[in-house]
């Protein structure tokens, strides 16, 4: 993929075969990437595709397990962020890291200035850079008075002060208004004209088309494509990003009409972590034996929807399961038949420092048969673990092995075994196959579909459109906290879903205007 370009000097930055493994997941798998001087490269990929890991490697926070990094044709080792700066690699973090009570110059002098009053020396350079690139930041302004866009420009100046030739912008527009974003793009073009190399991380397709020269797409840790933006379209990029799936054949037959309603959600409204509305009057029904797919770009309310249903997040509105109001905390709801395969299997789905047997007991550890009164029944716990491990073919050295030693696929099987114990009526599955290999993915899909045959309803949240299309009976799209649809799966395509995810109105999307609410 990265043939040396004849008749030209070596690229400003070249990564070859970068591989980085973490326990349970290969975050980067043989990633090749080049950026020329005076070029803006967009790094595109879903959440967890490996973008952050790659940036951390470039900025010296992680060491790759395999592969080389070359700067201007020289192989370099980036041992720390300080070394990265010295080598001319600058990072503009997603959330600015500034001391808000200090002035811009004082912030920039931190770690970079010299002498007794470092801020004074810096102020001149700040003005200079600010004028040159149209950054419009005054060195004496107090950081607490700045807007998010201005803070970000301070971070850009910090990188430039450090002499950055390669500038990495980590989802820079996620905190900006559209107007601020277009201001940022102007600055980026100036920097490009000056011969610097920019790596721009985003999953907003319009922005990528607007500002980047080339796009490299990561999926599940691998580079799945690299194209110039000239000639690319939103659709072609979306397709690259979600990719052709492991198995694109539909795994389900046609849906029977008139299912019995299992889950009825009306007018669900919830706030997100920053107090902003995360769900806006979401309403849908889920039938017995049905798989309802939920598509959407990360951060559009899918996580909150699942958390609300699982009893982890407060919300207003009515939710009934089999006609009974669904209330109580997470443990209570699980006992009432709501299983939850969480988004983050390491940080919430399991306790990595506990054994497989203890992890399998996370649900029901305090009740019969796993406990008698206040005492745990360790024999019963082990017995349950042996059965689960066998039934779900979890590959583990033993039931007393710490779960952190298991691969991602086996951790997910462990979670499935635990959550599906006791035949739940409703299964909330979030990115259930993210990061899994083909075999494990197939097994997860098979198990979920088996449960629907037994009458369970599945709410499947995924960023993988192939997965949604092959498993769901109906698919809804979350955009800005609203649910579009759900649409019967026969009436949507990858393309129409992609447009809906990007915020297009259903009426303007072919095939999606017939969407029925229930």
């Amino acid at each position: 993929m990265t043939q040396p370009q004849p008749n030209s000097s070596p690229p400003a930055l070249e990564l070859r075969g970068i591989t980085k493994r973490f326990p349970g997941v290969v975050a980067n798998d043989g990633v090749d990437l080049t950026v020329a001087a005076g070029e803006v490269l967009a790094l595109l990929g879903e959440n967890g595709a490996g973008k952050s890991t790659l940036i951390s490697i470039l900025y010296g926070l992680y060491q790759p397990d395999e592969g080389t990094v070359q700067l201007g044709g020289q192989t370099v080792r980036i041992g720390s962020p300080a070394e990265a700066k010295k080598l001319g690699i600058g990072l503009v973090p997603q959330h600015p890291l500034l001391v808000s009570r200090h002035s811009v110059a004082e912030n920039l002098a931190l770690g970079g200035g010299s002498g007794l009053f470092p801020a004074r020396g810096v102020a001149g350079r700040v003005r200079e850079l600010s004028e040159k690139y149209g950054l419009e930041v005054g060195p004496t302004a107090r950081v607490s008075d700045l807007s998010p866009g201005e803070k970000q420009r301070v971070e850009i100046i910090r990188a430039l002060l450090g002499g950055a030739r390669v500038l990495i912008l980590d989802e820079p527009t996620s905190v900006l208004t559209p107007q601020e974003a277009s201001g940022l793009f102007r600055v980026m073009r100036e920097l490009r004209a000056d011969g610097r190399s920019l790596i721009f991380i985003s999953h907003k397709l319009d922005e990528v088309l607007d500002v980047a020269d080339r796009v490299t797409v990561l999926r599940r840790g691998k580079v799945v494509g690299g194209v110039p933006t000239a000639g690319a379209t939103r659709e072609s990029l979306a397709e690259l990003m979600v990719g052709r799936g492991v198995d694109f054949t539909r795994k389900r037959g046609a849906a029977p009409a008139n299912r019995e309603v299992l889950l009825d959600v009306q007018n669900l409204t919830a706030s997100g972590s920053r107090g902003l509305p995360a769900l806006r009057s979401v309403g849908f029904t889920l039938g017995r034996g049905e798989v309802l797919g939920v598509a959407g770009i990360a951060g559009n309310g899918q996580s909150e929807l699942v958390e609300v249903l699982a009893g982890l997040h407060p919300a207003r509105g009515t939710v009934t399961l089999d006609g009974q109001p669904l209330t109580g905390g997470a443990a209570e709801r699980f006992q009432g038949g709501v299983a939850h395969i969480p988004e983050d299997r390491i940080h919430s789905g399991t306790v990595p420092s506990m054994t497989v047997a203890d992890n399998l007991a996370l649900r029901g550890y305090d009740r019969f048969p796993l406990a008698r009164g206040l005492a745990r029944d360790l024999k019963a716990t082990d017995e349950r673990a042996r059965q689960d491990v066998e039934q779900y073919s979890v590959a583990t050295p033993g039931i007393h092995t710490h779960s952190r030693l298991l691969s991602g696929g086996n951790i997910q099987k462990l979670i499935l075994a635990r959550e599906l114990h006791g035949n739940p009526r409703l299964i909330l599955a979030v990115h259930p196959t993210y990061g899994l290999d083909i075999g494990a993915t197939d097994q997860v899909h098979r198990v979920l579909l088996e449960r629907t045959n037994e009458g369970a309803g599945v709410l499947l949240v995924s960023e993988d459109l192939d997965e949604l299309l092959s498993l769901s009976d109906r698919i809804g799209v979350m955009v800005g906290g609203e649910l579009r649809g759900p649409f019967p799966v026969g009436e949507v395509t990858r393309e129409s879903l992609g447009l809906l995810m990007g915020g297009a109105h259903p009426h303007s999307v072919p095939g999606a205007d017939q969407g029925v609410g229930a």
Partner: protein, 352 residues
Amino acid sequence: MRFIPLAAPSTTRAGLVTLASVAVALALCALIFVFYGVSPAEVYSTMLRGTLGDSTGLAEVGRRTIPLLLIGSGLAIAFRAQFFNIGGEGQLLLGAVFAAGTALFVPLPGPILLPAVFIMGAVGGGLWALIAALLRRLNVNEILSTLMLNYIAVALVTYLIAGPWKGKDVRGYIYTDSFPDAANLPVIAGTQVHWPTLVLGVAVALGLQWLLSRSTFGYALRVVGENPGAARYAGISSARVMTIVALITGGAAGLAGAGEVAGIHHRLLEAGQISLGYGFTAVIVAWLARGNPALCLITAPVMGVILAGGDILKIDLNMPFRVVDVFSGVILLCLIASEVFVRNRVVWGARA
């Protein structure tokens, strides 16, 4: 030299590293003694002879082991839940206050007075730690709050013994009257080892070990301590677990305080006389035991030897009393620093 993380640090490794870090600490202290102008060999042999070498020394070790065992076992539980209680000292004092108040002012028949003294001691210590647990819900760091509560506890004791609880027959001194006889603990003859508290300490250490490894609450506690995200996911209330943990760790320290006043002093007196820094030394006891209450049965006497040995050094070698703090400080530093060797494999050389 580089550190490679170990996926599953073994118990053996933890044990060996712990022993090695104590050895390093003793070597560092030896260096300090050299600079102080005494031979380390003489210091260590004096300590050992004076503590383990004769019955008086052993009794002194035993006396100090009792509060260390009680507080240390409770702290072990607290550390496993990531509740960093540095306030054992204050909780001990509040236990002593509640115990003394019961012994002095509550007219109870003889046989039930002592149990009441201990129960109220546990209540006092538990409530003191509970303040920190409740503050933690408001995002107040418990390291700071428990530490600060120590000073408030000292002031409270001083106020009580100099003010409302000042004894009638004590003239210029500041302490309370003596407890009635029924509130005094029996001791092993000729020593200050109040054996009922020692028995209680052993029971608490074993009981808390059971709680941690066999009970449903212990399971919830470990989930909260090892992965709060998973606790939230599974519907385990971290706040509730922290509240109970605070009551346990504070209660254990309160029992120690009750034992000290009922077993040794028989009255409430100045904070510095009730506790010889037991609350802080117990942090090392719990850390050495790596969060296992039952292992405090070994680590508490070890620190008891160091505390009692410090007194011997003061008398026999004319060393300053603070020598004990030097020991404790160096051992704790080495233990904390050794954590990295438990979790990582060390590779020498520039790059693998």
